[in-house]
């Protein structure tokens, strides 16, 4: 196997006295689609923020294509495309203006940027809205602009955080297919989500973290050694500590008066 695209070694992170990541070790290789899952508060977002160079006061070593994020955050960021979940946009701009702005931050030529953004937005069916201010856009339209802004500079590593939020079924199909094609092209995909069925389908390797530790790492088939379980069931088995399947019972009992 070639050198890892993303390499995380003994990554620890504290917020004050609270430790969020207890030493994560992870190598992700080009062409892999990594599904990164875990319950709320497991440390997923923190990992993603560190990978994107948004948090720098961590312990351990994180490299992207051999570049240490702490030493050269700008160099690392240049190789990454980050698509956050329903994030903020400068919504008084039009998609065309916004994407040109994003493109010039990555040093893209104006013409290249223009042709790419027209095609991407066209593929998402937003050609007609290219010069309309985004403050009137729906959730799905905004998410499409975010997807475009993350892919515009043709990055080798793509980090997606719940990228399907608000998208309609057709766009979901497009994005899922796109992920497969990008991976085939040798890109590295880091896919963070709570939607187990999608993760199960798109990713060829799944990492489950809980309480800041990796608790499972492998393909779906490897995780599913008992056979005939869905990822959702595996997830529940590995992350539920107390008998919280009784929660539904408790809920039902609430109506008994």
């Amino acid at each position: 196997m070639s050198a890892p695209a993303i390499s995380i070694k003994n990554l620890r992170k504290n917020y004050g006295s609270k430790t969020v990541l207890h030493g994560i070790n992870l190598d992700v290789y080009p062409g892999q689609v990594l599904g990164y899952i875990g319950p709320n508060g497991a440390g997923k977002s923190t990992t993603v923020k560190i990978l994107c160079g948004l948090i720098s006061d961590y312990e351990g070593e994180v490299t992207v294509q051999g570049i240490d994020i702490k030493n050269d955050p700008v160099g690392a960021k240049r190789r990454i495309g980050y698509i956050p979940e329903l994030a903020e946009l400068y919504d008084v701009l039009t998609p065309s203006e916004f994407l040109h702005f994003m493109g010039s931050l990555y040093g893209l030529e104006k013409d290249v940027c223009e042709s790419r953004l027209t095609r991407i937005m066209g593929a998402f069916g937003l050609q007609a809205n290219l010069h309309q201010r985004m403050d009137t856009f729906s959730k799905g339209m905004r998410q499409k602009v975010l997807l475009a802004s993350g892919l515009l500079h043709n990055p080798d590593i793509i980090i997606l955080d719940e990228p399907l939020s608000g998208l309609d079924a057709n766009s979901v199909i497009i994005v899922k297919e796109l992920i497969g094609r990008l991976a085939k092209d040798g890109k590295t995909i880091f896919y963070c989500s709570h939607m187990m069925d999608v993760v199960e389908k798109v990713s060829d390797r799944i990492v489950l973290i809980d309480g800041g530790r990796v608790v499972a790492d492998g393909s779906f088939e490897e995780l599913n050694q008992q056979g005939n379980q869905s990822l959702e069931q595996i997830f529940a088995r590995l992350t539920v500590k107390d008998a919280h399947h009784n929660a539904a019972d408790d809920l039902m009992q609430a109506f008994e008066q």
């Binding site: 956050p84 994030a87 008084v92 701009l93 702005f101 010039s104 931050l105 040093g107």
Partner: protein, 565 residues
């Protein structure tokens, strides 16, 4: 982008070689500034802010030009300073005082929305932009923004001085205005950091709103009281020029600097002040760049990231319902069910919604100023001329509460979060009347009592208990008018409509009708107020009227409700 912004951008990018030497990516810098300036142009400024609330308003374009015009108008207002006192120093102290206060006000509101855009952290920071480029882009943006405010603002003063004395004087004014601006930026920064240290940005925004409310009231009070001072001789003779304690007042430094350069004054404290006018801003801007700005950015990064303190479980005051004041009042005044829900909902929303407070609280301030001014007048001089009339004058201020009630009742229908009103429409309510009457009761009770209870206490102490029936009658009359107007006017659910400035004409008609009714009722009350029997009968009748109208309000049907969309 319009020409002004293009020119500003070109100006900001002039030292590009210097930027490059500092390790700044000039093309990124230009891209960021371009985007920021375009956004500034589309963001409604303080005058246009109300016009554009949702997508339904017109798109804002060229807000920059609006900002420039607004600043010029303010600069014109500052010229009033030159009508004060009898010497240059006094006038300029007032001028710079207004200048600094106004600039701070504008900057404070812009800092939260324009200059420190927390979205930057999400949008720009994950991109390959180095820290220096990012920080310089922010500083340059602040600089350009301040230019757009300061130059138009000092222009009228410069023109005035050019004619009044000579062009050199106007250049001197501009020069000092730049230093005053540096000082204002420092003030804002320091205040901002001090406040962020003790509270959250959300809270901070409410504090700013209160400052704005207080300022609006202050200006109103000034406009009411200043003309009265103007008649006195002291107004013209008034001088600040020869008082050493003025050294503690920053606007005086700039005025003294002007005078020192211009007329070569050599009083020790004036020269000292002139030195401070130059030294303090330079020192303060050094402090901003060296210490305050980094701390500031750190703090902001904290806000945007998930690093903020976890959500604490706290119980809001009044949230426990039963034993709270609102709970008790609700049980007395409303029927169980939708009406009580409407009452409690409105009571809490009024207390907690910042936008509601900003729109309504100033009118309370205006009212207090008016009442004080009215009492001032009734106490001063003319008391002897007409004993009959002056007796009624003591009650008259109560009729002014309609100013608050109009503002408050007019605003409870609106909210920024009007979409949350879906909860009313999915509820199995047969008619929305009880909700509306509950909301109205809460509003009237809250705002009447804020003014009326202190007023009654004051009259009981200063006057006699015999006035009480008349005061109560005046209050009851107002409540009856409000209830009646709500019944015949269009019905709206509380906090369920977006702010639209449309239908101004209809609102004006309503307002006039309202005032006319109040006037007629006040007149009738005036004719009767000595007759205790008539007053007693009036009290009973109005109380019955209020009860009757409240019953009718409860019957408002879904068809009668004006909907948001």
């Amino acid at each position: 982008m319009n020409r002004i912004n293009k020119a500003l951008l070109a100006l900001a990018l002039l030292p590009r070689n210097l930027y490059r030497r500092w390790g700044i990516d000039v093309s990124q810098l230009s891209a960021i500034l371009t985007a920021k300036l375009i956004m500034d142009d589309r963001r409604p400024n303080s005058i246009q802010a109300n016009r554009h609330q949702r997508g339904d308003g017109k798109e804002v374009k060229n807000a920059t030009i609006g900002t420039i015009i607004l600043s010029t108008v303010m600069g014109l207002v500052f010229l009033f300073a030159f009508a004060f006192g009898n010497d240059h120093v006094t006038r300029l102290t007032v001028y710079f005082g207004m200048f600094i206060i106004m600039l701070c006000m504008l900057l404070v509101s812009d800092f939260t929305s324009v200059l420190i855009d927390v979205r930057d952290n999400q949008i720009i920071l994950p991109k390959p932009v180095n820290d220096r480029t990012f920080i310089v882009s922010r500083l340059l943006h602040v600089f350009l923004h301040v230019c757009k405010l300061v130059f138009p603002m000092s222009l009228p003063g410069m023109v005035f001085l050019a004619f009044d004395s000579n062009p050199a004087a106007s250049l001197l004014l501009l020069f000092l205005a730049v230093f005053a601006t540096l000082f204002s930026v420092f003030l804002i920064n320091a205040v901002y950091i001090a406040i962020l240290r003790v509270t959250t940005p959300e809270r901070f925004k409410s504090i700013i709103s209160y400052v704005q409310i207080a300022f609006a009231i202050l200006i109103y009070a000034g406009s009411q009281l200043l003309p009265r001072f103007e008649e006195t001789a002291a107004f013209d003779e008034f001088t600040l020029a020869d008082k050493p304690w003025m050294l503690l007042v920053p606007p005086y430094w700039f005025a003294a600097a002007f005078d020192t350069v211009f007329s070569g004054s050599s009083k020790w404290f004036q020269v000292a002040a002139a030195l401070m006018a130059v030294a303090v801003p330079l020192l303060s801007i050094y402090l901003v760049v060296k210490y305050l700005a980094p701390a500031f950015n750190q703090k902001l990064a904290m806000i945007a990231g998930s690093e903020g303190p976890a959500v604490k479980t706290v119980v809001s005051p009044g949230a426990q319902g039963k034993s709270s004041l609102s709970g008790i009042l609700a049980r007395w005044l409303t029927k169980n069910g939708a009406e009580r829900a409407g009452f409690l909902f409105t009571w809490k929303m009024m207390a907690r919604s910042r936008e509601f407070k900003v729109r309504v609280y100033p009118s309370i301030g205006y009212l207090i100023v008016m009442m004080v001014a009215a009492m001032f007048r009734s106490h001063g001089g003319s008391e002897a001329d007409d004993g009959f009339f002056s007796g009624f004058k003591l009650i008259l201020p109560v009729y002014f509460i309609n100013i608050i009630l109009i503002a408050a009742v007019g605003q409870i229908a609106y909210s920024e979060k009007y979409k949350a009103a879906w909860m009313f429409f999915i509820s199995p309510l047969e008619r929305p009347g009880p909700l509306i009457s509950g909301a109205l009761k809460a509003t009237v009770l809250k705002f009447c009592s804020v003014i009326c209870i202190p007023f009654i206490l004051y009259r009981l102490l200063a006057g006699s208990p015999a006035e009480l029936p008349n005061i109560l009658l005046a209050i009851f009359n107002q409540v009856l008018i409000i209830f009646g107007m709500s019944l015949i006017g269009s019905s709206r659910l509380p906090f369920a409509n977006p702010f639209i400035e449309a239908n101004r004409g209809g609102q004006l008609m309503r307002l006039l009708l309202w005032l006319l009714l109040s006037g007629i009722v006040a007149l009738i009350h005036f004719l009767l107020f000595r007759n205790m029997f008539a007053v007693g009968a009036g009290l009973v009748l109005t109380a019955l009227g209020i009860w009757f109208v409240a019953q009718q309000l409860r019957k408002i049907s879904w068809e009668a409700v004006e909907l948001a969309d």
